[in-house]
């Protein structure tokens, strides 16, 4: 939704008014952007592609969480556990039942959604922050389950996964897996954007904005809260499965509460209730540790480095950066990067007469 309607665009019907890409220029930008992304493996090295793949995967998971937090107004502190469940489910389905990986990924999403509903059902019926606390419990229960269920996760040794393959085309390198992630990102984001334009999507927003009014309008609160949690878990499961087939190895320890908080950070930083913001938040969160690392390396050997032991404590610095980023965004930019992006666009639209 643009702040000012550009001239020359006349929307004559509601249908036109509600398209995801409202003007001709945005549609052109979309296709050009996609074409550029498709060329990325030709230009970038494996490191940059790895970052892009990570951004895509985290973006899908963050989008799921944004549907829950940003659009429905519920909060989940166990997103990483569901992400991990998706990863293990996909690996398990492939190894145990020899289902092709391309099919395992959506199946893992469905399995994760079901697990999410088990934890979400008691809490989604309650008002307020009870879902937050229930998902906190889910985080620890699932983490414990991962460590214990040898048949499912491979226990402490972890589980080796097979690369993604489709009709004989094997995506076992960054260059090829990039296209798989890109395809999933496009599908999941288009689905989410469309979901928010449907009756169900508007119901979720109504539940967030004023639950009493929503109920009076005939929206079944329990149903939509549970549904939203199911969708969030589904997205987490898909992203987790993609992650598993990217790393080709899933370890039990990866899906801890810090990871869950990172997902929440992506949603806050990207912008609550913004589809594109989820991807921006994911990009911020993936790139932040790299920036911290680069900063520490630039200082290595200097007096500051020796005094503060930067090199040895880089992982703590990253955690601190995540925490600080969340707090600073909440205080100074509560609408997130998506809002800032809109402001930047509006500024240039009127440049140089922006006042």
């Amino acid at each position: 939704m643009s702040i000012t309607a550009p001239s020359g665009e006349y929307h004559a019907s509601y249908r036109e008014d509600m398209t995801i890409f409202p003007t001709r220029n945005t549609r052109i930008a979309l296709w050009v952007g996609l074409a550029l992304l498709a060329c990325a493996p030709l230009v970038f090295g494996r490191y940059e592609l790895g970052l892009l793949i990570n951004i895509g995967i985290m973006g899908i998971a963050a989008l799921g969480l944004n549907i829950l937090v940003g659009f429905t107004g519920q909060i989940s502190i166990g997103h990483a556990a569901f992400f991990g469940f998706g990863a293990f489910a996909s690996a398990y389905l492939h190894e145990r039942y020899h289902i092709p990986v391309a099919l395992c990924i959506p199946l893992a999403g469905i399995a994760t959604a079901l697990v999410g509903l088990v934890f979400g059902t008691p809490a989604a019926r309650l008002k307020g922050l009870y879902l937050a606390i229930a998902t906190l419990a889910a985080q620890f229960i699932l983490e414990d389950f991962f460590a214990r269920a040898q048949w499912f996760t491979g226990g402490t040794a972890g589980r080796i996964t097979e690369p993604f393959s489709l009709f004989g085309w094997v995506a076992d390198r960054e260059e090829s897996y990039f296209y798989v992630v890109l395809a999933f990102v496009i599908i999941m984001f288009v689905v989410a954007a469309n979901l928010m334009r449907t009756r169900d999507g508007r119901a979720l927003v109504a539940v967030r904005d004023h639950y009493l009014s929503a109920e009076v309008m005939g929206i079944n609160l329990a149903y939509y809260r549970t549904l939203s949690f199911g969708i969030a878990s589904f997205y987490a499961g898909i992203a987790g499965a993609l992650y598993a087939h990217y790393l080709l190895f899933v370890s039990v320890e990866a899906f801890n509460i810090l990871f869950s908080i990172q997902f929440l950070g992506m949603v806050i930083i990207g912008g609550l209730g913004s589809i594109s913001g989820s991807l921006m938040g994911a990009a911020f969160m993936v790139l932040l540790p790299e920036v911290v690392q680069a900063g520490a390396e630039a200082l290595s050997g200097s007096a500051i480095d020796r005094a503060l032991r930067l090199g040895a404590s880089i992982s703590f610095l990253r955690e601190m950066a995540i925490g600080a980023a969340i707090i600073l965004f909440l205080i100074f930019e509560p609408d997130g990067l998506a809002h800032r992006w809109r402001l930047v666009k509006a500024y240039w639209k009127l440049y140089p007469y922006s006042h």
């Binding site: 107004g73 955690e319 995540i322 909440l330 509560p334």
Partner: protein, 297 residues
């Protein structure tokens, strides 16, 4: 049934549970006064314990001096957090406030790891005798002390909320902020005070645990164990928090016992409270003493 094993376990559970109760009380204090669910409660324990440890080892202060300086520091710490981070968020949605406390939590946890390292460090010896005999059971002196301190803090809370002017102001604020304001109570001051008291009380708990187990980032897990306790007791009940803490403390020890005797799953000590949490949410979400204002939908 092995009674010789069970009795110490229950006793241990009660002692640890009393500490949970103290932390839960300080959690409920913040929640009642300012409607903030504080996910950084465990970091209060952590910061308090590390500061006290640092004063005692680096500065060689005697225990009582270090203890008092730590409490003074935590008062300031709580007030500064409230004023700098939480006050700008008044009026923002609940999600933002929760996220801010989560952000604070990981920030201070990482900061403490950075400054003091990841390994547990023991407190210098404080008591002449390490263990004492009570009813034929060997009990660590620090545990007895912690039980004593817990009971003292609880009595202090009871006095504070029923007899002192500030405590009554706090209760009035929790009841209705506008009415409290019109009666001349400074609501921002009450908020800051609740954070300060909560930080101080948590730090005391943190120091006690630190004396027994050594100081490490594992302390912040107390802040998470608080949730089963407060949900069981009722999110806005101080008495419920104490009782919830005791029950959770005993429960996790019993779960460990059952696990060791029959189940052999392992790790039940950590996870059992969270199973309990899910079950409580299903059958009695407002807890034992909480306000039954929860609307089921």
């Amino acid at each position: 049934m092995d009674w010789a094993l069970l009795v110490p376990l229950v006793l241990n559970g009660l002692i640890v549970g009393a500490l949970y109760g103290v932390v839960a009380m300080s959690f409920v204090l913040i929640y009642k006064a300012s409607q903030v669910v504080n996910f950084a409660q465990g970091e209060f324990l952590l910061v308090g314990a590390w500061v006290c440890w640092w004063l005692l080892t680096e500065w060689q202060l005697p225990f009582y001096a270090g203890f008092l300086v730590t409490l003074a520091f935590m008062t300031l710490f709580g007030i500064i957090l409230q004023v700098v981070v939480l006050r700008p968020l008044i009026g923002e949605p609940v999600i933002s406030v929760i996220m801010a406390t989560i952000g604070l939590g990981i920030f201070f946890q990482a900061l403490m790891k950075w400054i003091f390292g990841v390994f547990a460090k023991p407190f210098p010896p404080i008591f002449p005798a390490d263990r004492v005999l009570v009813f034929g059971l060997q009990i660590q002196t620090a545990y007895l002390l912690s039980l004593g301190i817990s009971v003292l803090i609880m009595l202090g809370f009871a006095w504070f909320f029923t007899a002192s002017k500030h405590g009554l102001a706090m209760r009035a604020t929790a009841f209705d902020q506008q009415v409290a304001q019109s009666l001349g109570i400074s609501v921002p001051k009450v908020f800051a005070m609740s954070w300060a008291i909560s930080a101080v009380v948590s730090a005391v708990a943190g120091i006690v645990v630190g004396i027994v187990n050594g100081v490490s980032s594992a302390l912040s897990f107390y802040g998470i164990k608080v949730f089963p306790a407060v949900i069981l007791g009722g999110l806005d009940s101080v008495v419920g928090a104490v009782l919830g803490g005791l029950i959770i403390g005993v429960l996790e020890n019993l779960a460990q016992y059952v696990d060791a005797e029959w189940l052999h799953w392992g790790n039940m000590y950590t996870v059992a409270p969270f199973y309990a949490l899910i079950i409580i949410l299903m059958i009695k979400p407002y807890g034992l003493f909480g306000t039954k204002a929860i609307e089921r939908v």
